[in-house]
């Protein structure tokens, strides 16, 4: 099946293929991208599963993430330690969830995590305000931000606790027509 590669064992590649939405070739390509982010840190030989993480600052400098207002939150959501340091497993996981073939439910779960800035499993008003400020680069005045956030919560909140639980969020996002087309990164 092509030339013999020595980065991963066959069994590792199989495991990656089962656990993500990528094919073998794409996983090898992803490893190339991961390696070129920090060539001195990342070994070319992953057969014995080295414990290497790349810091947040390097990951968000990737062209795919560089212009995204939520890049820090995305990387933090997929990192094991919550501070944004991604191992290769986390890296592959992140792009797998954000790929085109990932199902809507999975994306909704991670979208909820990304927008949950204070990580309390609810999207409260402060989370929405931070989301909106990042989205508009803080060009709206505070009253305008409050108005928009209140309207957004009012539209999606079903149980009336003025914050969005995951059920509210998922209910709203499944009715959004372009969630799947906007929430994906092509790599």
């Amino acid at each position: 099946m092509g030339n013999k590669q020595t980065i991963f064992t066959d069994e590792q590649l199989d495991a990656y293929q089962d656990c993500t939405f990528f094919t073998r070739k794409e996983i090898l390509r992803l490893h190339g991208r991961y390696h070129e982010l920090a060539p001195h840190l990342v070994p070319m030989d992953y057969t014995n599963e080295p414990d290497v993480t790349i810091p947040l600052a390097l990951i968000v400098s990737m062209p795919e993430l560089n212009e995204n207002p939520f890049r820090n939150r995305i990387v933090e959501s997929f990192s094991e330690d919550g501070a944004g340091n991604l191992s290769f497993n986390d890296f592959v996981d992140m792009f797998s969830v954000l790929s085109e073939t990932a199902p809507r439910e999975l994306k909704a779960i991670y979208a909820f995590k990304i927008y949950d800035f204070n990580v309390d499993n609810f999207l409260c008003k402060e989370d929405l305000e931070k989301t909106l400020n990042k989205l508009t680069r803080e060009e709206l005045s505070p009253e305008e931000v409050t108005l928009v956030c209140e309207k957004a919560i009012e539209e999606a909140d079903l149980d009336g606790d003025s914050k969005l639980s995951f059920a509210d969020f998922e209910n709203m996002i499944t009715r959004a027509p372009d969630f799947l087309s906007t929430f994906h990164i092509r790599i």
């Binding site: 560089n66 199902p103 499993n121 989205l135």
Partner: protein, 727 residues
């Protein structure tokens, strides 16, 4: 729920987390809630239908799970039926789950992965082919650039323009097939070529339509009864049929486009108006990599939000108006409406006088002056249509409507102006149409309108837009530059121009059969001219109006133009006799003589059927039946609307019921746990930590169960789960 930590005699009880906490916090409630959430029939049904769409090339099967009885109930369901790659856990856990499943089933390995690769490759190939085909559509790269720099509204104008080009190409095909080709092929008069140049032809004939153009197939007078002269297949009949086909085809296409737009924007958009939450959560396109595109996207999001805020503020302001303010406002609006009517009346008078002046006989003038006087009506109409819409725009800013209503009001007035001025002009034309070969005369007038419209667009770009840009760039502080400001591409007015030119084509179609060809060439030239204007001279608009309701208006206006053309043509064909010296209908009393002759030649039953179909005895019952059907549709629509409202209410109510019941269930669970709990041997890691950032499943309960899979010492959890199930 008091603390039970007791520190007597040197032994300390091991306590679990929950017993130390004294309130039912939202977090732990959520844990319990989402556990049972996943057991609900609706969640299971959704997951089952979801798996049908999943990739089936992987190993998971609904393998009998009796081998692993210690698996928790619903973890059993999920772990064995959901594809591993869809589990919302970190990679390590996924590999552990995979290893576990490997114990259960044998791996299928290479074959499955090859199949999956092929499926993915096929899908990617399909996408690439689709992308390549859409790139084949003409001008798609230009449209992409324009959308990137100016947004969806301006792109919509160019898409509309392209659609009109397609429409006119279709009309060209039909006319070419039914009118042009039979005439050329079956030409009875052998020495009558397509183009004959005679003595006093000149270039100006091109603008006025006389001379060599008059003798060419452009105008009605060229066509005659040719050698194709069967009873039911002759050139005049084909001419008539061609025109009718063209009009019916246009009607079908425009109505379809109008209806589709109406359905999308009005019916769905206003009712299920969940804009804000979509804009906040789905607003950003994660694929953007280019900083410029990112800036533009940000400005669009900001503009949409500002638009919403402005509408909100307007509504609040409107709600706070006192009675006195309302009275003043209505008085002002009445005054402004009157002003608009006065302006319209003045415009029509001007057109009348211009028509009269151009039709007065002049002789002995210079050639240029003659041409100018012949062009006077189109010039006046175009000037009026150029200035008055801007006046209307300024007037509507005083009327204190919301922005969208302002734009739509201006649009309605402008389209009324354009179509009515055209209608007036046609009416005045027909008042003195008793010349010889009046059809050619009429065709020439339409031709002049079309040509002058194109000239006006050309002059507007090169003599107004570019100088203005040059002025603003070179002398930005001069008073003229500050007065004119930066140029924006005013979408409504440009679309109105397109609608106007298409209406002229439809009206003049019968008398100038080559108008669709001319129109196609003209539209393509306009595309490039406008593209130059937009890309070189204009800046993106800072404020935007809600364009969706306006786009429905645009298509509706196109329909109005078509209806006006049909009415004009129909009244002409009925009122006036075909002239006796030119055209294919020479000698007949009316144009429909040819059809009557054809019908007469058909066999008896066909004749009587046709006569019956066109008699009142058939038409009236059909109309009555249509009215009945329409009434039934309308009442069904109203009933559906009420049902939708009721269902929406029911949905909200049942969701809050569900949440309430879940909270109650959680509370009773916790109470049960506290009564059943043994004081020792409870591992503190039972629930996982709800605030682990890595695993979203902490909120969903998956992680806790997989942790249990890993932790064989967690015996009490098994008991607890059994208790859960016992509940």
């Amino acid at each position: 729920m008091e603390d039970k930590e007791c520190n007597s005699g040197g032994f300390m009880r091991l306590l679990s987390e929950e017993s130390c906490s004294s309130t039912v916090t939202g977090e732990s409630c959520v844990n319990y809630q989402t556990e049972i959430f996943n057991q609900l029939p609706s969640s299971l049904a959704r997951r089952r239908t979801h798996h049908h769409h999943q990739d089936r090339g992987t190993i998971e099967t609904s393998h009998p799970v009796e081998k692993h009885p210690e698996l928790a109930g619903e973890a059993r369901d999920r772990a064995s039926t959901q594809p591993i790659r869809s589990l919302p856990v970190c990679m390590q856990r996924k590999r552990e789950a995979r290893d576990l499943r490997h114990l259960q089933t044998r791996t299928v390995g290479r074959w499955e992965s090859w199949k999956r690769n092929q499926r993915i490759n096929r899908k990617r190939l399909g996408e690439q082919v689709g992308e390549a085909m859409s790139r084949l559509l003409p001008w798609s790269s230009t449209l992409h650039t324009i959308e990137g720099r100016f947004g969806v509204g301006v792109k919509a104008y160019f898409v509309f323009l392209r659609y009109l080009v397609y429409l006119n190409l279709l009309l060209c095909l039909v006319i070419g097939g039914t009118i042009l080709i039979p005439t050329v092929v079956y030409d009875s008069d052998a020495d009558r070529g397509l183009l004959r140049f005679e003595g006093n032809d000149s270039v100006l004939d091109f603008f006025v339509g006389s001379g060599f153009l008059e003798r060419s197939p452009v105008f009605y007078g060229f066509y005659a009864r040719s050698s194709l002269d069967l009873l039911c297949l002759n050139t005049p009949l084909l001419f008539l049929l061609g025109t009718l086909t063209v009009l019916i085809l246009s009607l079908v296409m425009v109505v379809r486009r109008t209806v589709v737009g109406y359905k999308h924007t009005w019916l769905l958009g206003n009712r299920y108006n969940i804009h804000m939450s979509y804009k906040v959560f789905c607003g950003w396109d994660f694929c953007i990599q280019d900083p410029e595109v990112a800036d533009l996207k940000l400005s669009f999001i900001r503009n949409e939000l500002k638009l919403y805020l402005e509408e909100e503020r307007f509504q609040q302001r409107e709600a706070r108006r006192t009675l006195g303010q309302w009275a003043r406002l209505y008085f002002l609006r009445g005054l402004l409406h009157f002003l608009v009517l006065v302006l319209l009346g003045g415009a029509f008078c001007l057109i009348y006088h211009a028509t009269k002046a151009s039709q007065a006989e002049r002789s002995g003038d210079y050639l240029i002056l003659t041409v100018l006087f012949q062009y006077l009506p189109p010039i006046v109409i175009t000037l009026v249509n150029f200035f008055l819409p801007h006046v209307f725009r300024h007037i509507s800013s005083f009327e204190d409507y919301s922005i969208t209503t302002q734009v739509n009001a201006t649009l309605v007035r402008s389209i009324f102006l354009k179509l009515a001025s055209l209608g007036m002009y046609l009416f005045f034309l027909f008042q003195n149409s008793q010349q010889d070969c009046w059809e050619n005369q009429f065709g020439k007038e339409m031709y002049k309108l079309a040509v002058f419209d194109f000239l006006a667009c050309f002059c507007n770009t090169f003599f107004i837009a570019y100088p203005r840009k040059w002025l603003v760039d070179r002398y930005p502080s001069s008073w003229l530059a500050r007065l004119s400001g930066k140029q924006h591409f005013l979408i409504p007015f440009n679309v109105l121009d397109l609608v106007y030119s298409q209406t002229v084509t439809w009206v003049g179609l019968f008398y100038c059969p080559m108008l669709p060809f001319i129109e196609t060439v003209k539209l393509m030239a306009i595309f490039y001219i406008k593209k130059l204007t937009v890309l070189q001279c204009c800046v993106p608009a800072q404020r935007m109006f809600r364009a969706s309701s306006s786009s429905v208006l645009f298509h509706f206006m196109l329909l109005l133009g078509l209806i006006m053309a049909v009415i004009t043509l129909g009244s002409n064909l009925h009122k006036f006799e075909p002239s006796s010296s030119c055209g294919p209908f020479v000698g007949s009393a009316t144009v429909f003589n040819v059809t009557a002759v054809c019908v007469d030649s058909l066999p008896g039953p066909a004749q009587s059927t046709l006569r019956y179909l066109s008699s009142e005895a058939f038409v009236l019952p059909v109309i009555l039946a249509q009215i009945v059907v329409l009434t039934s549709f309308e009442s069904r629509r109203r009933a559906n609307g009420k049902a939708i409202e009721r269902l929406k209410d029911m949905l909200v109510m049942s969701t809050s019921d569900k949440h309430f019941l879940l909270k109650q269930h959680t509370l009773s669970l916790r109470r049960q746990k506290k009564t059943f709990k043994a004081p020792t041997t409870v591992s503190g890691t039972r629930e996982g930590s709800p605030t682990t950032m890595k695993d979203p499943s902490a909120g969903i309960g998956e992680d806790s169960h997989i942790a249990q899979l890993k932790d064989p010492s967690a015996q009490p959890t098994g008991d607890d789960i059994k208790i859960d199930r016992g509940l």
